[in-house]
Amino acid sequence: MSTRKFSVFSLMVAASMTLALCGSAGAAGKSIKIATQSPLSGDQSVIGVDIKRGAELALEQLSGPLEALGIKAELAPFDDQANPDTGVANAKRIVSDPAILAIVGHYNSGVQIPSSEVYHSSGLVNISPANTNPKVTTRGYLEVNRIVGRDDVQGVVGADFAKSKGVKTVFVVHDKTAYGQGIAEFFKKKAAENGMKVLGFEGTEEKANFDALLSPVVAGNPDLVYFGGMAFQAAVLFKQARERGYEGMFLSDDGFDSSDAAKIGGGTLIAGGGTYYSTVSGPASVYPGTAKFLKDFQAKYNATPQPFAAQAYDCMAISLKAIENAAKAHGNKVPTRKAVAEAVRALKDFKGITGTFTFNKIGDPEKALYFVIQVESADPSKWSENKIVKTLEIAPPQ
């Protein structure tokens, strides 16, 4: 046995000792957990963290009825890093914990789709506050539900709005992610049907230098530039387009709905034809029940909620209600995962703060709200005061 071999061995022993520090704590008695998965780190953590906070706030405020049954509910937040591999590994960790009865989550559809395969195979119910890709529900899983609208509708909403603004020519750009490209494809299709001329359809992973991409955009001087993707790219693109003399209108999707957009774009978003975005998540102030939510959120986290925080609150509320119903049906015992999944679908007209929800047979809400919002101020702190120019209630396509 050489010293070398030996020091390896002792290193391993030392490593296992350190691990002892973080051994997992066992769950006791009738306590259950509800997990969240959202990007808590990375570019999209601004929104991901608030998804977790929304769920946390709901758990704190609404777990009373469950506690009356003697069931204690805890939050188990996971960071999917907006990465499918991490999401799947987390999902396996989640389903292997029998105390977890529901999962609120995912911000990115690209992460939700593979992760929910894991939830589906172990019967764990997933309620999504933000995933808009059609494929999330069209797979027809009992366990997968969402409370927001769909990309195929949102793309159409965007294209119809553009038509109502008299747009004749449009240049479509997307961010080469499952989300951005998905929505852009639907926008393009509907725009062409609406008689608009699509000058170009380009994807880009670039985050900074849009010069090359902007040449054909600015040369065509379209009435509208559409971006399918997230604010941190869209705002940079819009700013650079203005700098190159583009005067027309910008339109984007709910990924644009982040105060970062105003921070990056500043005044360029209001100049010229202005900037609009379609979203499935109106500012919290438009929903009937949100005044209290806004106040409580502000009090607890000392920040205004980002988009989807209110939706996450509702997802948690639905989970708690479903668990409560299932528990009551099972003699006040902790219900099985299957019972919870069925209880979610069985809910009728659940009154949340962002709407009244009944799920259809594939897990879409029977009717979803879509908004088109105009950026009003260059000041990031006034982002939530942006003006709603159009509100639509549309049933999901079958």
Binding site: L199, D211, G220, V236, K263
Partner: protein, 391 residues
């Protein structure tokens, strides 16, 4: 005063400027020729028809009218690449070693500069600053970014490369890759802990965002605005200044002579009384200074930075250095300009020439293909002399 002026080697000041003009014009002419001939060839085909349908203009006219803007964009990014490429090429010239972490040194420069400006903005100083003061603050940010990046480069060399000198070639390279990854997350950690988020946005101030318009050209039904933004001029101007300064340092001063001596033959240089370790540190310092300045300029031009911002520009700059002939300073300049042009031309015209089948998303592939092709067919680069590998 006169004596001082006499000692300035005017030739070494004029020569690099001449080279830059020559390279810029040359590569612009070359790329334009390719674009125009492609346009002429494709004009009669479906490509031309599809463009006519969308833009109401022939492919040839479209290509011609867009040329000036594309050339300006290509030059701007080309000079940024050149400034970063010099960092790679100087280190390679002296140590025959690819400083993989140079891209993160660039990123650190960008972060330090932007953080300073954000702090100033937070204190309300930037908003009310006069034009002169705005430039002064920008210069301050650039200098601070340079100092941080230069210091970091020297520290990295001392800690992670010097102990490995003399080991086989791959050992320091792997260490450099490690440093690169380490630094990315260190930036992220520091930024997240101090500011809560790690992507930072360059504050808007001064007149950098405004645009000097040369004129409008009618094209089909629309009008093209030809112009250049103030910040592009600043980027090109500062890069030219730095490149001239570096050229002067290396080719016309005593220190430069020492650097060249160490690059040529390290043992002999040390016999001549040159402190080799100090010269190597100095090389890293100079490379870091340039990288840091390029970082702040990059942030100014493109607004948003994150801890991984260095990766692609770094890789492209390395490509530029190889393209021009690694270890050769003029080569890095040429490589940077050519690569910037090539990439911008490809990104701007590919979508139109291929009817949208392959758009600007392939521009990175262009850079890498060039790298692979150059290394296969002319490994010494455009300007390099053929050298046998040292065994």
């Amino acid at each position: 005063m006169i004596r001082f002026l006499k000692r300035i080697n005017v030739y070494e000041l004029v020569r690099p400027v001449g080279q830059m003009v020559l390279f810029s014009l040359g590569s612009a002419a070359f790329m334009s020729a390719i674009a125009i001939s492609l346009a002429l060839a494709l004009d009669g085909t479906a490509v031309g028809a599809s463009l006519m349908d969308k833009y109401n203009v022939s492919l040839y006219t479209y290509t011609m009218l867009n040329l000036p803007q594309v050339i300006i964009d290509g030059l701007t990014i080309g000079f940024v690449y050149a400034a970063i490429a010099l960092g790679y090429t100087m280190v390679y010239g002296v140590l025959e070693f690819i400083n993989f972490a140079h891209s993160e040194i660039f990123a650190v420069g960008a972060f330090v500069g932007v953080e300073l400006l954000i702090a100033l903005d937070g204190m309300g100083i930037l908003a009310g600053a006069s034009l002169g003061m705005a430039y002064a603050y920008l210069i301050l940010a650039i200098i601070l970014g340079m100092m941080a990046a230069g210091g970091l480069a020297v520290a990295v060399e001392r800690v992670a490369y010097r102990p490995l000198r003399g080991a086989s070639r791959l050992v320091p390279l792997i260490s450099a890759i490690g440093v690169s990854f380490l630094l990315q997350d260190v930036i992220r950690l520091v930024e997240s802990l101090t500011s809560g988020q790690f992507n930072r946005i360059m504050p808007t101030f001064g007149n950098f965002d405004s645009r000097i318009v040369f004129g409008k050209i009618a094209m089909g039904t629309s009008k093209l605005t030809l112009g250049i933004s103030v910040k592009s001029i600043i980027v090109i101007g500062s890069a030219v200044l730095m490149l001239v300064g570096l050229n002067y340092l290396v080719n016309a001063t005593r220190v430069g002579k020492a650097i060249r001596a160490v690059a040529q033959d390290r043992p002999t240089a040390s016999l001549m009384g040159i402190n080799v370790n100090r010269i190597i540190s100095l090389t890293f310092l100079v490379g870091g200074l340039l990288g840091g300045a390029a970082g702040v300029l990059y942030a100014l031009k493109f607004t948003r930075i994150d801890p991984f911002v260095g990766f692609f520009p770094g890789l492209k700059a390395f490509t530029a250095a190889v393209l021009g002939g690694i270890g050769n300073m003029t080569g890095a300049l040429l490589g940077g300009i050519v690569l910037g042009m090539l990439e911008t031309f490809a990104g701007s015209y590919m979508g139109v020439f291929t009817m949208g089948a392959a758009g600007s998303e392939y521009k990175d592939i262009f850079a890498f293909s060039i790298l692979i092709l150059v290394l296969i067919f002319r490994p010494q680069g455009l300007m390099g002399k053929h050298v046998m590998q040292k065994a």
